[in-house]
């Protein structure tokens, strides 16, 4: 049981480090939002659930934190993406398609 918890926590920590590395390396605000949200939500969920599996008396509160992060992290990232699109942060020059431009033209 403890070995399973250590393996799950290790997967979570790996995804957290990769998400933070993506924040440093990717070229654009929207790419950084994608790396930062997906990797850190997955990593935080698995780290906290792994700790909860190792300590079974902490499991329910760990599950509460994990579900809370899983619910609120996409909302805050969506709010930041929408705000940066509204105040005109440009895409990087290697971007291929921008579908939000024609959507704004239809409005």
């Amino acid at each position: 049981m403890e070995l399973i918890g250590i393996i799950i926590t290790g997967i979570g920590v790996l995804f957290l480090v990769l998400g933070n590395f993506g924040i440093l390396r990717l070229p654009d605000v929207y790419n950084r939002i994608q790396a930062g949200t997906k990797c850190t939500t997955f990593g935080t969920f698995f780290t906290i659930i792994g700790i909860g599996i190792i300590r079974p008396e902490w499991f329910w509160k760990c599950l509460l934190i994990a579900v809370f992060v899983l619910a609120t992290n996409p909302i805050s990232s969506h709010a930041i993406a929408r705000a940066s699109k509204k105040c005109g942060v440009p895409l990087c020059d290697r971007s291929v398609v921008d579908q939000s431009a024609e959507f704004e033209k239809e409005e």
Partner: protein, 86 residues
């Protein structure tokens, strides 16, 4: 042995937070800095749970829950400020 593994995990997470901190310092626009702060707060929630396991303090899990709540409210406030500006 198990404590050694979790200390190594904590060191890796702190290294990741330092990478995001570099982006927060050099980020060209305000949105970059807001995204870096979002990532740092979500990583800190996991870091607090790891520290609760290492130091065997149950209270740190409550601290982590309150920190997640306040980070969500603060980031929504930052996004609303960048969108409308009041």
């Amino acid at each position: 042995m198990n404590e050694m593994i979790f200390i190594v995990f904590t060191g890796l997470v702190v290294g990741g937070i330092l990478l995001s901190l570099i982006r927060m310092l050099i980020g060209p626009t305000a949105s970059d800095r807001a995204v870096a702060v979002d990532t740092i707060t979500t990583t800190t929630v996991a870091l607090l749970v790891l520290l609760a396991f290492i130091f065997k303090r149950y209270v740190y899990i409550d601290v982590s829950l309150v920190y997640a709540l306040l980070a969500f409210v603060g980031l929504c406030a930052i996004a609303r400020y960048m969108e409308r500006g009041f």
